[in-house]
């Protein structure tokens, strides 16, 4: 098992990243840090650039300017993607996984593929490996699902198994792209609590993207708020404020505290057309039950 970075050690550093796609600047001067044992929320409306940013961190999208440093070593820079070792230090749970119900694959097989699925050759049976897989499934509270076909799992159960798959190789950084998108409130709560526990127990750094910050408020150590390709980062109280977010969005937004929830809505002077483009929810009254 590779040494777990000490809590607070820098695991990811994104510095002045600009990304252009099809002649449009999708990310503008984005910079932040992620530390070991911390839970960082990457929050932003649809189209803000969350997936693009995660792709940059994975080394899939070279930034036009700026650089990404993963685990202290160089990752992607404007000269190109980083060296191959990045993949081993980063676990990734993709935005949407659709599983064929007829696929002959148990939860334990999927987790086992997380250990060495990229390697060539025939997997050998080995007690250490099996114990590692079992322990990982227990760690995500999926021990009883070990022998279930993955196609028969519920959304929340599959999400746990995918997290186990991503974590079993002991990465320093775990990226999750909208893992809460298809979960009901209870599963959402369970997955968030699970991730918070894993950051504490394993010292892994979690960077999780979501369009709604509310489920993450109790556990988030740090927030990276993305709007229209620009980012603000820091503690939730520092970032989720009217001045900061209005600046990001480029027009007035209101931050409403409703009991223990935070809603970000277009202010009275926000240009309506721009709100739609930035994916801001409509003002209260017509808003859906959740904030941004």
């Amino acid at each position: 098992m590779p040494p777990v970075p000490a809590r607070g050690a820098q695991v990811l550093s994104v510095e002045g990243v600009h990304v252009w796609l099809s002649g449009r600047e999708v990310l503008h001067d984005v910079g932040f840090e992620v530390r070991a044992g911390e839970f960082t929320g990457l929050i932003g409306p649809n189209g803000a650039g969350k997936t693009t940013l995660l792709r940059v961190i994975l080394g899939l999208e070279p930034p036009a300017q700026g650089r990404v440093i993963v685990g202290g070593g160089p990752g992607a820079t404007s000269e190109g993607a980083g060296p191959g070792r990045t993949a081993e230090r980063v676990g990734y749970v993709p935005q949407k996984v659709v599983v064929d119900p007829d696929l002959p694959l148990r939860a334990r097989d999927l987790v086992s593929l997380g250990l060495d699925g990229h390697r060539l050759g025939i997997p050998l049976r080995n007690r250490g490996r099996r114990q590692k897989v079992d322990a990982m499934l227990e760690a995500v509270d999926a021990g009883r699902l070990a022998d279930a076909r993955i196609g028969t799992l519920s959304g929340g159960e599959l999400q746990r198994v995918l997290i186990a798959h991503a974590l079993v190789s002991d990465p320093a950084l775990l990226l999750l792209d909208e893992p809460l998108a298809n979960l009901d409130l209870r599963s959402e709560h369970e997955v968030v609590a699970l991730l918070a526990r894993l950051t504490g127990e394993r010292g892994v750094a979690v960077l999780l993207s979501a369009h709604d910050m509310n489920p993450l408020l109790p556990v988030m150590d740090r927030i990276v708020y993305l709007a229209a390709g620009r980012a603000a980062s820091g503690g939730t109280d520092e970032v989720v404020r009217e001045e900061v977010l209005s600046e990001l969005y480029g027009h007035q937004v209101d931050v409403l505290h409703v009991r223990d929830r935070i809603l970000v809505v277009a202010g009275p002077h926000g240009p309506r057309e721009a709100d739609q483009a930035a994916g801001l929810p409509e003002p209260p009254g017509r808003t859906r039950s959740r904030g941004v």
């Binding site: 994975l58 080394g59 899939l60 993607a81 191959g84 990045t86 993949a87 990734y92 993709p94 996984v97 599983v99 064929d100 007829d102 696929l103 002959p104 694959l105 148990r106 097989d109 999927l110 593929l113 060495d116 699925g117 990229h118 390697r119 060539l120 050759g121 025939i122 997997p123 022998d147 076909r149 993955i150």
Partner: protein, 265 residues
């Protein structure tokens, strides 16, 4: 007859193994298309008086690379269809130009057990060994990709050549199998057994072995039946392949019901 059985055995092992990954990846359309493009190669070789196996191999590999190249961004089903119609058109032309070879062409479409000559045993054995080694090497990444798709390799570095290598494997399996079971029915050997195996076990590597075993049983039974009855092998492979799949599904459904009853009771 002994040589024929040997060739058929090798063909079944490769078709069962390559077909397993084809079914898992959901690319059975490719397994349907490549043998048919290979048929155009056979018709072309017949026209030129060349070895049909050479024509089949060339066309199958070229089509595989064409599909891989055309689908490097976007949908592979469209690319596959494009290559398929192009090759079928060529095959039609070759056929029209060499009408006198129609009986040979017929056997390439539907397979002919006695059409397998002793000279095919050597090359077939070589191709079998090569494909099985390649599959053993690529098995894990292919399985991972079948589950997670693009996300299996988020950095996307291996994805292109993995896809290419897989398509070439399908082409090789095609080249070996078409002379035995025929271009039209090759599909049933590559899809029936693996599709049935999926229903019979939850374990991936066990399902792979089971798929090869079912393909073997299908081919042996078909060759024996064709030898005795003089009907085309392809007919038996088609019927038995579908039969194996149907039985597998029924068996899985019964097992599920029993498990459900057990849980309820």
């Amino acid at each position: 007859m002994v040589d024929t059985l040997w060739v058929a055995t090798l063909v079944a092992m490769v078709a069962g193994a390559v077909g397993f990954f084809t079914v898992l990846r959901g690319s059975t359309f490719v397994a349907h298309a490549l043998p048919q493009t290979a048929f155009a190669g056979a018709a072309g070789a017949a026209l030129l008086g060349a070895d049909p196996l050479l024509g089949i191999g060339t066309f199958a590999v070229a089509s595989a690379l064409g599909v891989g190249w055309l689908s490097r961004r976007g949908r592979s089903d469209v690319a596959t269809a494009l290559v398929l119609v192009l090759m079928l058109g060529l095959g039609g032309l070759f056929l029209a130009l060499s009408a006198q070879y129609s009986s040979q062409v017929y056997s390439l479409l539907f397979g002919e057990v006695l059409g397998v000559s002793t000279t095919q045993l050597g090359p077939t054995a070589g191709l079998t060994a090569g494909s099985l080694v390649a599959l053993a090497l690529l098995g894990r990444p292919l399985l991972l990709e079948a589950v997670l798709g693009a996300a299996a390799d988020p950095r996307g570095r291996h994805r292109r050549w993995l896809e290419g290598a897989f398509l070439v494997l399908v082409a090789v399996a095609t080249t070996m199998s078409v002379p035995v079971v025929g271009a039209l029915l090759m599909f049933s050997l590559m899809v029936g057994p693996p599709a049935a195996a999926r229903h019979l076990t939850d374990r991936p590597w066990r399902a792979l072995l089971l798929s090869m075993g079912l393909a073997l049983a299908t081919v042996w039974a078909s060759v024996a039946a064709a030898y005795l009855s003089n009907w085309p092998v392809g007919f038996y492979v088609g019927v038995l392949g579908a039969g194996v799949y149907g039985t597998g599904r029924l068996w899985a459904a019964r097992r599920r019901r029993r498990r459900g009853a057990h849980l309820a009771g």
